[in-house]
Amino acid sequence: MQVTRRQFFKICAAGVGSSSLVALGFAPGEALAEVRAFKLARTTETRNTCPYCSVGCGLLIYSLGDKAKNAPGEIMHIEGDPDHPVNRGTLCPKGAGLLDFVHSPGRLKQPEYRAPGSKEWTPISWDDAFTRIAKLMKDDRDKNFIAKNDKGETVNRWVSTGMLAASASSNETGYLTQKIARSLGMLAFDNQARV
């Protein structure tokens, strides 16, 4: 049976898979056109959790790239995970925009430094940033660490540098941050649960 290109697309659009068309003898006489494969068929599916509110909706993230050295993965679609017992595949208007968060032009890409009084950012290497920050922290800690209070009680605290931790970071980051902060004697330390 001969099918024109236009008819062939019409049949496919009706939702009938091309392989069954072939089985029924509907194959076009010659390869007039190839149906575009589903984009997601070539992607990697990764399970994740929505980073916004704490309903904790399951996500499926689809990324292109085969993990070859010079083919970095590129996230091209995010949707709700239908297996997830809470969100059952759905996402809200916030979650529906997640792809635009991942690819936001507001994403930071390199460490930057703003000098005292300056009007601008200048790039800085990670190593220089870490080294300079550690130096500033140590100078402040050594100068202001309180080993004993006025009564001579051991208190071992450092309150002239503080930190706000991120309640959107993972437990693993949170745990590491807590451990480091307390080892330094930090008390001026909170996360968004405070506000």
Binding site: S54, K109, R194
Partner: protein
């Protein structure tokens, strides 16, 4: 949440008050829809605005912002005076029959022991009567006027429907209708869930708002049952996890707390927290505190933590006071803080009183920002015109901005509001040179450690000895860290009943916190997470969503703390003999044949304690029961009392019109100079309140194109009466002003914000969504927290964002 998202489908009645789940937690709110559709459950919404949740409710009652305790106090009065309570439950499972100390008193809005200079209480009279045997004295007949039941009844008798209506602005018939609907769940076969969020927490009496809600639920026997509970809808994806891990000024992991200065003695520190039972036969699970503490110290300091040095007790910083966010900005403003690190936190936008926050940041020597996005805080020094009008030349702060990964670019676990730890997987590399948070923290810490190793300095021991057993020291892996907080045996852990029996071999991951020891043989970085990564593997990564009991428990989906339990206090779902109060919603029951508790959930109880032993369900309390009387645990008193917000449209507290000290929360901390920053109703006559929209998440999604398109520009909402009074039309630009500054936005004139009759006059509300700023893809806007007052809840110091005073004018 005491319960969990899916469990909402088991309810008969939903009360949303202090939250707006349909708007802010839409995918969780679907379980309300499910309960309505399949159980014929009904939904009540009590809110200053006719919200998206209200739009799909069965009954909506308006309320003036900041008067929730008056409303709920009225509900308590209704339940007690109409005898709509769950008798057996309150008599057996709460402190109804406990006698209160004779010296305890309440006079015209103040409890015994108030010190007006310090704005705090001496709480020594706030306690139960304790007998010679060390146990609380009770009166099972409930006749003694000092028993908690009688005292509570007398306390709330003042909250009559007329008083409630006059304070809250809720029409009396609407209030009574809500009472009647709530009272219908006092029977064992009906239950109610309460869903709340920042609408209850962000008040100068936020903690007491929540306590009053919990008291209503206890009176009805709705705590511990499927479809019931007190359900905090938390705001960030891992705000529950970071709280659990203790990343708050005064906390250690698993709700252990740091010592204060006076606690020089380690044994006394532990004894104070390891409470002995206050009634015979009770479990008082915190008695195990030392096991959790020692295991925590072993996780942090390994071999350096020994019995001889009290497991490094002195290495922990001690508190001379709380260092919450408001206190730290106050200190910064006074020039006492030199450095600040913001890891995924944007305080310029999310802390109150922008002018104070901005001025404080400018006094820092250095500021470190770790974030995936360019936040307002990172550019607090930059001039962004009218939205951030500062002179960079005058700001001497050194600022570092370090790009971090986002959720899609990392592995790890997050704790949902349901207390479920869910693992997620990395899908792509981060953009440019961005690094993961763990690598960034390690990068700073390892350099600090090197400096201390080479050059010495102030008390280097805790830094030099911090455990750091990572295969890539500069990049600790999520798997290593998860195993560390879940815990392992350092030596063989044996069965206390049979020392020959080894439960866990040295080096193996623990199965749960029951295996923790206080002799240094176990290590565990967060006891309530223990078992999340056992020898069975990473239980947080489990993906079996089967629900064999059909009530939505999915015990093999990920891992819930504690011990994979899904509904807290579930022993209270059974009567004293161990039978479920409602067999159609059975969570657990006592099985005499096996001598164990079991069912659809992990029992929140000693699993082999038979009902006849009389152990009660609230095992974390030394009483074994739930407390209506909070003893000394709350800053402003054992029974919640209505106080006006710090900035109120009323000149006094209608409950105590003659006592100025009881106008606003008497125990709320106010910094000296901030008194002058509070407005009065003659200049600022309208109630301001802030909130969120479904299209945006805080200050992030304005960086996401889709969200910026669907909600592009800052607006405020006002009612039709106020609009008419002020000559404001829909779409006009308006200036909203508080004592602390102003914002300009588009006015939306709407029926959703109504005028209320309060104390014989009209009170208008101005509603303000918070999502704009001067960074991102939306149209630039003013930071809403320019307007909000620098005062917090007396217990948590969570800022009062929900009720303050403003004025409004057409621009």
């Amino acid at each position: 949440m005491t319960n969990h998202w899916v469990d909402i489908k088991n309810t008969d009645l939903v009360l949303i008050m202090g939250g707006n789940a349909a708007e802010a937690h839409p995918c969780g709110f679907k379980w309300v829809t499910e309960a309505k559709a399949h159980r014929k459950a009904r939904l009540i919404v009590v809110d200053p605005r006719f919200t998206r949740s209200a739009a799909v409710s069965d009954y909506y009652a308006p309320i003036r912002a900041g008067t929730d305790i008056a409303f709920l106090g009225g509900v308590i009065n209704y339940l007690l005076s109409n005898d709509k309570i769950h008798h057996e439950y309150v008599k057996t499972y709460t402190d109804f029959s406990f006698l209160v100390k004779d010296e305890f008193a309440f006079n015209d809005g103040l409890y015994s022991g108030y010190n007006p200079e310090k704005r705090s209480y001496d709480k020594s009279t706030w306690g139960y009567q304790v007998g010679a045997d060390g146990y609380v004295v009770t009166d099972p007949t409930l006749q003694n006027p000092r028993c908690v039941y009688q005292m509570m009844k007398a306390h709330y008798a003042r909250y009559t429907p007329d008083v409630v209506s006059s304070i809250c602005g809720t029409p009396k018939e609407a209030f009574l209708k809500v009472c009647e609907m709530i009272a219908g769940t006092a029977t064992p076969n009906k239950t109610m869930t309460i869903m709340y969020a920042l609408g209850w927490t962000q008040h100068s009496q936020g903690s007491q708002n929540i306590r009053t809600g919990a008291m209503v639920q206890l009176l009805l026997g709705n705590i511990g049952v499927a479809g019931g509970g007190m359900n905090a809808l938390r705001g960030h994806s891992n705000i529950q996890g970071l709280t659990d891990l203790g990343l708050l000024s005064n906390l250690l992991p698993g709700y252990m707390s740091l010592p204060n200065d006076a606690e020089q003695d380690y044994k006394a520190y532990v004894e104070k927290r390891a409470s002995k039972p206050l009634r015979p036969g009770q479990l008082s699970y915190w008695q195990n505190y030392n096991k959790f503490f020692v295991s925590n110290m072993k996780a942090w300091w390994g071999d350096a933590a020994t019995a001889e040095n009290n497991w490094c007790y002195d290495w922990l910083p001690k508190l001379d006071k709380g260092y919450d966010l408001l206190q730290v900005f106050e200190n910064m403003n006074q020039g006492k803080v030199n450095g600040y690190i913001c890891q995924g936190f944007n305080p310029l936008a999310s802390a109150p009183c922008k002018v104070k926050v901005s001025g404080s940041l400018a006094k820092l020597k250095y500021l470190v920002i770790i974030d995936p996005l360019a936040t307002e805080t990172s550019e607090f020094w930059q001039n962004h015109g009218e939205y951030n009008d500062v002179d960079p030349a005058k700001i001497q702060t050194e600022v570092f901005r370090l790009p971090s990964t986002c959720f899609a670019e990392e592995d790890g676990s997050l704790v949902s509001s349901s207390r479920v730890l869910q693992w997620h997987w990395k899908a792509a590399e981060p953009p440019g040179d961005a690094k993961g948070d763990q690598e960034i923290m390690a990068g700073i810490f390892l350099r600090l450690r090197d400096l201390y190793k080479k050059g010495g300095g102030a008390f280097p021991d805790p830094i030099l000895n911090l455990t750091w057993k990572h295969r890539q020291p500069e990049s600790p892996s999520p798997e290593e860290l998860a195993r560390e907080f879940s815990g392992k045996a350092l030596k063989d852990v044996t069965d206390p009943k049979d020392p020959a029996k080894v439960l866990v071999k040295a080096g193996e991951q623990l199965n749960g916190f029951a295996e923790l020891r206080d002799d240094g043989s176990t290590s565990c970085g967060c006891w309530i997470f223990s078992g999340a990564w056992s020898e069975k593997g990473n239980l947080m990564a489990r993906r079996d969503n089967s629900d064999p009991y059909g009530i939505g428990q999915t015990l093999n989906w990920a891992f819930a703390w504690p011990a994979n339990r899904r509904v807290l206090y579930n022993r209270a779902s059974c009567d004293p003999s161990g039978k479920p109060y409602d067999p159609t919603r059975k969570l657990i029951a006592w099985d005499a044949a096996s001598g164990k508790w079991g069912g659809a959930d992990i029992p929140d109880f000693k699993p082999d304690s038979p009902p006849e032993d009389g152990m009660n369900p609230f095992i974390m309390n030394p009483e074994g029961v739930a407390r209506f009387f909070a003893v000394g645990l709350m800053a402003e008193g054992p029974f919640p009392e209505h106080y006006e917000p710090m900035e109120s449209p009323l000149a006094n507290n209608p409950m105590h019109p003659k006592n100025e000290m009881a106008r606003a929360n008497p125990a709320a901390r106010v910094f000296k100079e901030d008194w002058a920053s509070f407005g009065k109703p003659d200049q600022f006559p309208y109630v301001g309140t802030t909130y969120r929209l479904t299209e945006h998440f805080h200050f992030w999604t304005k960086h996401a194109r889709l969200n910026a398109i669907i909600q592009p520009e800052q607006f405020v909402e006002i009612g039709e009466d106020l609009a008419k009074e002020k000559g404001i039309k829909d779409g006009d630009h308006v200036r909203v002003r508080s004592k602390r500054g102003f914002i300009v936005a588009v006015a939306v004139v709407t029926k959703r914000v109504r005028t209320l009759d309060v104390e014989g006059r009209k009170v208008h509300t101005v509603g303000m969504p918070i999502h704009w700023g001067f960074m991102g893809l939306t149209k630039n806007g003013y930071i809403t927290n320019t307007l909000t007052p620098f005062v917090g809840d007396a217990n948590t110091q969570t800022p009062e964002f929900k009720a303050f005073l403003v004025n409004i004018e057409k621009v």
